[in-house]
Amino acid sequence: MSAGLLLNATICFAITISSFAFAWVLARSYPEHNDKSKPALWSLIALWSLVGLTYLPTTIRMIAAYMGDQRLDLMLYYVTAIPFSFVTVPLVFFILYVIIGDQKISGYISFLFVLFGATYLAFFYSSGVLGPVITPLSSLFTINSDIAINIYLIGLFVIPTAMIIGLLTLILLQRMPKRLRYRTALPLVAISFVFDFMLTDMITLDDAMQLAARIFVLIGTVQAFLAYFPPMTLQEKLGIKRYEYNLYEKEEDEEDTDLDNEDEEEADIIV
């Protein structure tokens, strides 16, 4: 029973807590958003909740592996597959809604990804898995279905990743204020980070790679936090800090007098 498994469990727990906390913070900020951004906000809340729901059973699974309980490990692996298969649904909805702005079309297309997820699960459960193989760092399973892996790679990985990259490129190619660029591009980078490394985590057969992928998922979650709530030092460094100011209101006469005085002063200097 290795301490590496406990480290793995700790990382999974950190991901769980931070994603749930982020989803909660987003949900709490609901009244501050306008009607147009609310559907995208809900999809983000669903996305981060699903990330949390994927890593919560994974945390317990790592502890079960540490304790040597293979039956619980296997059972929780099956449970983990459910939220994981549907992570793409809110993600696809979010990207499509932000780009085209039509809730219905985005809803229909993301429903296709519900079907992808369900098909993946059907093949996954019917073929079963091989394992677990307990290593000093992790507990690994092998999916026993090539079709499930293909659906997973094409439907759940390639298409949504291409969508994120497309939206990111669209935003990065535009000239816009730094603050807006940061506010729109960083959440996408964070989502892409989390999403891609979650998929790596699920498919890899290398324990070190899995641990590294989980660390990157955690980094991605932190990035998402920074995107929405950047600390003051980061804002100052990136030049995205909103300058706090009050409007300067002065009587016109006073202003004219000031200008006259300035002219006089300048004249004095020239003389």
Partner: protein, 120 residues
């Protein structure tokens, strides 16, 4: 070049440029419409009455006539070839192409603005 002139879009674009503090050229609905009509009739004579079909909603005959004289004829964007008949010059076509770019900029800016608005 027989493209339709979308008066409502031209008005929207002009208002957008006005909101940026640009009240002349791309921000002037009269200028936009006159140039659109002239470029639509490239190589042909544009009748003053045809220009007025589009501009009557926004300005009276006098101010359009004055704009033709003080901007289009003076700057060489159009030439008067008969009473109430104008023809667009090469310089006028350049101005018209610039106007198309301003419309594209407006559309692109609007699309990105909407995307940002939908981002939570």
């Amino acid at each position: 070049m027989s493209e339709e002139i979308d008066v409502r879009l031209e008005q929207e674009v002009a208002e957008f440029y006005q909101s940026l503090g640009i009240h002349q050229g791309p921000g002037d609905i009269q200028y936009r419409l006159i140039l659109k009509v002239l470029s639509k009739n490239e190589g042909k004579i544009t009748e003053f009455s045809e220009i007025r079909e589009y501009t009557d909603k926004f300005a009276d005959k006098g101010s359009i006539g004055s704009k033709m004289k003080t901007v289009f004829q003076l700057e060489g964007l159009a030439e008067k070839v008969k009473r109430g008949g104008y023809i667009i010059t090469d310089k006028g076509i350049t101005a018209s192409n610039f106007l198309k770019d301003t419309t594209n900029f407006y559309k692109k800016n609007k699309r990105i603005g909407e995307i940002i608005e939908r981002m939570p």
